[in-house]
């Protein structure tokens, strides 16, 4: 019989997240979800639709609007036998959870001499350009990447979202999992099988020769778009996605930098003291003598994200601005 190629199954980013959660909840009865409007509402983004129907109200729990409180409950539950997935609707609300994440979740294992573990996942969102203004548009993953004891995942495709989330749920440590709100409808290949992606392994999303674009989360699609534009102009861009800011796959990033000798790092967090600064430092320390140009950083402008569309649009990197910076670095502008 002739082999018939199966068409690649496609899911949206939101569906991939939901599938990861459902698979892990079927696999492990200790996994539970709580947060604001996670049950019947399935979150405002409808990412969790159907889960309460399958797993019941004692595993998918709506909470009051009390981010600090239910994050703390997640920490305690994780220490005592459950594997909670805590939902923080907008990444901006992470500010309300900081003591629980930074002083409790991140430190319980170390401070107890390794005796208590906090196998908890905090799912949250990042990303601007949704016309939501300054308190619903921030990308605050750098804050968590800064703190020893936390891990930070930044999936950029539906495939990575499923694989990384399953790994995060199985991890013995607190993992903060950032999803780009603008990416929930993005479609991509997602196998139906039970696959995982290790934390701390970068993915070369596009192979190139002339310049490396190290991009995270929402900026990976921007970098890929810019690479398409550059290709038409004869510039071959490599796109490297670290996928997690901690643990960080320094090796893959440095190797790519050495190969192309020019690097732009692109991340939607504020550029000042942000992820781009850390990645640029890693590259400078690891590949300085192979570089033909200073590493260029591109992040969110140092302003609160404005509401008005023409103002908001200039605050974050775009395909056009990335391509423009790349041309300059390659002396082809």
């Amino acid at each position: 019989m002739p082999e018939r190629a199966m068409p690649e199954r496609e899911l949206t980013f939101a569906q991939a997240v939901r599938e990861a959660l459902a698979e892990e909840m079927r696999r492990d009865s200790r996994v539970c979800i709580f947060g604001e409007d996670v049950a019947e509402a399935g979150t405002p983004f409808k990412v969790l639709s159907g889960l309460v129907e399958e797993f019941g109200a004692d595993r998918v729990l709506d909470t009051p609007i009390s981010e600090a409180g239910f994050t703390g409950v997640g920490v305690g539950a994780a220490m005592t036998g459950l594997r909670p997935v805590v939902d923080i609707m907008f990444g901006d609300f992470l500010t309300l959870t900081m003591d629980q994440m930074v002083n409790q979740a991140a430190k319980a294992h170390y401070m107890s001499g390794g005796h208590w573990n906090v196998p908890m996942v905090m799912r949250t969102t990042l990303g601007a350009t949704r016309r939501s203004a300054a308190q619903h548009s921030q990308s605050l993953h750098a804050w968590f990447s800064h703190v020893p004891g936390l891990k930070v995942a930044l999936p950029s495709t539906p495939y990575d979202a499923k694989g990384l989330l399953k790994t995060a749920i199985r991890d013995e440590n607190p993992v903060v999992f950032f999803e780009d709100k603008m990416m929930y409808k993005l479609k991509g290949h997602v196998p139906a099988d039970d696959y995982t992606i290790p934390l701390g392994v970068a993915d070369v999303k596009r192979v190139g020769e002339d310049i490396t674009l190290v991009a995270t989360s929402s900026m990976v699609q921007v970098a890929l778009g810019a690479a398409d534009m550059l290709a038409k102009e004869g510039i071959s861009a490599e796109v490297v996605d670290p996928r997690t800011t901690w643990p960080l796959d320094e090796k893959t990033i440095i190797e790519s930098a050495k190969k192309t000798s020019r690097v732009i790092v692109i991340d939607e967090g504020y550029e000042r003291y942000g992820v781009t600064a850390e990645l640029a430092a890693v590259i400078a320390e690891g590949a300085f003598y192979d570089l033909d140009a200073p590493v260029k950083r591109m992040g969110a402008m140092h302003v609160p994200i404005p509401f008005s569309p023409p103002l908001e649009d200039v605050t974050v990197p775009t395909e056009e601005t990335v391509a423009e910076v790349a041309r300059k670095l390659c002396n082809k502008s």
Partner: protein, 338 residues
Amino acid sequence: MNTTTSTSKPAGGRAADNQAEKDRWLRLYRQMTRIRLFEEQVNELYTRALMPGLAHLYSGEEAVAVGICEALHVDDYITSTHRGHGHCLAKGATPDRMFAELLGKEAGYCRGKGGSMHIADPATGNLGANAIVGGSVGIATGAAFAAKRLGNGRVAVCFFGEGALGQGSLYEVMNLAQLWKLPVIYVCENNLYCEYTHFSETTAGTILGRATAFGLEAAKVDGQDVRAVNEVAERLVKRARAGDGPSFLEADTYRYSGHHVGDINREYYRAKQEEQHWRSERDPIKLLADWLHGQGHADAAALEQITAAARSEMEAAVKFAIGSPYPSVDQVEEDVYA
């Protein structure tokens, strides 16, 4: 109105129960004495500059930790505070590993990485002392959530001082605990002072009113009377185990020492006569001793024997800790991640 005020009742009559009751009160006496003598050693270590960091003594408050932990099983959970030595000992920690931790030694409960304010011990259900005021209210509530979800019958006790009443997360988790009927008991140790400020300057309304607002069972107890504390604790633990939900206990007590050992000159926030009054008239160990004498449960010699044994235990524990090695520096990066 679901608030109650408890004072201890005279011990009940049946002869069969009498010995068990007597043993129980003597056990509480022993536990309170151990904590008092532990803290005396801490004070000594600190003033001799053998102990790094800070030392917040629990002396004067022993009846609260002991009366409550007597009502718990070894696998029930507690969360503790920066003033946590008493809770840890009452829940079953051993003084040798505690002193080792206080001195930053590898044999300590946290392998020297936590110190006085972070003693944690899974073997006795101790989720950890916490140096953020109110920082553990979520953890205790989460442990109660897990206990309920896993159906293991455990309860969680969240110890905190009245200073934590200023933290909003306490109200968030009490609300959640009541909505989800979680087996958690919030124990507010009101020792009158938030560091150097009298609680009346920081606390509007009533303390119990903050719990009853959420529908929690709320009680107030004389925190110097270990029998009264234990009686109300037994009741609150029983109802938590039965699935009747969370409760809140205000235990009125007193911190004999300063906020920490270095807080020597305290006249600007409290009078020496006040301290003297609590020490001479309201001391929990003395109050129980008087009662034991009155009941004929123990004479002075028997109690002195308990004290002497506890003193020897603490001296040996200190000796162990002083003689123990520090962790090697290559351990500094261990246990950041599990």
